[in-house]
Amino acid sequence: MTQALETLGRAGLRSFERLGRGQIFMAYVLAGIPEIALRWRLVVHQVYAVGVLSLVIIVVSGLFVGMVLGLQGYNTLVDFGAEESLGVLVALSLVRELGPVVSALLFAGRAGSALTAEIGLMKTTEQLSAMEMMAIDPLHRVVAPRFLAGIISMPLLAAMFSAVGVYGGYFIGVGLLGVDEGAFWSQMQDAVDLRDDIFNGVIKSIVFGVAVTWIAVFEGYDTVPTAEGISRATTRTVVNSSLAVLGLDFILTALMFD
């Protein structure tokens, strides 16, 4: 019993220690943002790596999620004779919840894991140490542009996910199931509010972008420099960022849509 408590205590202390290290790490990264913002080419390169290269999975997933929403929504709404509200259901579901959340989960799997592996491998092959010895701070030169790129890319990807999803719902609802096209778009236009729905969705995706990218770059930088260490760090990135996204989504939803 005592041993179990000791183990639990040690694990708790280790978690708090890592949390503290993660915050100090982020303070150093944020200190490098003004300098790196002036070197926009570095950020653009990373926006391409984490954002543009994630586009395919985001667009394809958005399309299928929208199509499934169209099908399920129609089957439910038609029982109440409210199938013309399908546009509202699809758009609000995507803009408020599914767009930011699902694209953040996909972003964690596609870009987050890549960021962790890349930075972890740079550490393992002493590239980060070499930079330090060249008097170049890797937190500013390597981590800060990737962090900034993650925050810029996430809301754009979420917006594309939602936009493609709406067209997926339109294709199923209007194209295949015969919902009136005018009703689909006009009811959507009436019900979706720019501030309450779209802005809040954008805020959510920015918060998720910060959380996922922070976890990804920290796990890469803090990895044990071995093959197994990188593997564990990559897994931790995907698991922890997914949990962080779901937890933050609950808190933000409670605050925004009460």
Binding site: M122, T125, E126, Q127, A130, M133, M134, A135, R141
Partner: protein
């Protein structure tokens, strides 16, 4: 760029002065009250068996690790007491050649050598090009400027890393196991280059290695480290004639001696007869 003009008194001062350095990793004592001087413009070797902490010593000199106690002075600066900014300013005058080369894998050979110049200077691209080509010519790899690091052999990677290390004309270069895993030709090239850096550019060199013959052939002074202490020091000739058991074992590559062949373990017979209970 660095100003290398020094007063006569400064020239006689060691560039690196290590006094009473003690360093632990967890409970393991790596260095116990170690004193080392690195003379300006000379090649000083730090030698010793694998795992004795040679690379750790380079990291302590470069400020990547902080000793538990003692003093590390580089060109008049107490390294462990420097702020991050001051440490980075000092590092612009240090070069380090890592065992793996540590080239940036997303850049080609040219861009790797240009990297410190682009980061630390406002030189026009045409001048950076000339400087990079000069550095690559010095290591014999001007023709490989468009290759990526994964197209280079281990020896070529280290030569590119050396070109990068001298890009900012440093005061000193630290070589971490430069000869490990090299074929005889690559090893000969690296030996020649390290000597050339000293003779032609007057760069102070610290070579950490366990390759006795190659290192002794170019060193002006050698420190032998074992079990956390300096167990021998002197010119290569002095060490070859040393009576110290520690130095003899290392210089003559004897498998057993003060550094035991066996890692500390319980009694062999008891271990075998315990049936896995131990």
């Amino acid at each position: 760029m660095t100003n290398h003009r020094l007063s006569p008194q400064t020239i006689n001062d060691p560039l690196v002065k290590i006094r009473g350095v003690t360093f632990r990793r967890g409970t393991r004592l790596i260095f116990d009250n170690v004193d080392i001087d690195i003379a300006r413009g000379k090649i000083t070797a730090i030698m010793g068996p694998s795992g004795c902490g040679k690379t750790t010593m380079l990291r302590i000199i470069g400020g990547q690790l902080r000793p538990d106690s003692g003093s590390v002075v580089v060109d008049g600066h107490e390294v462990p007491a420097l702020s991050r900014r001051a440490l980075f300013t000092l590092r612009k005058r240090m070069g380090m050649l890592f065992q793996s080369g540590a080239l940036l894998t997303d850049l080609n050979v040219f861009d790797n050598v240009a990297f410190p110049l682009r980061e630390h200077t406002d030189l026009p691209e045409s001048m950076i090009r000339d400087l990079v080509l000069m550095k690559l010519e010095a290591v014999g790899l001007r023709g490989a400027k468009h290759l990526s690091p994964n197209q280079l052999s281990g020896g070529m990677q280290r030569r590119v890393a050396l070109a990068r290390a001298i890009a900012l004309d440093p005061l000193m270069i630290m070589y971490d196991e430069p000869f490990t895993g090299q074929d005889p030709i690559s090893m000969g090239v690296l030996v020649r280059l390290i000597k050339l850096m000293k003779d032609a550019l007057g760069i102070t060199s610290i070579v950490v290695s366990h390759d006795v013959q190659e290192t002794a052939s170019i060193s002006d002074y050698i420190y032998v480290i074992s079990a956390g202490k300096v167990v021998g020091e002197g010119t290569p000739e002095t060490l070859r004639n040393s009576a110290s058991e520690w130095v003899r074992q290392f210089m003559d590559a004897l498998p057993d001696g003060p550094v035991p062949f066996h890692y500390p373990a319980p009694d062999y017979e008891e271990d075998l007869l315990s049936g896995g209970r131990a």
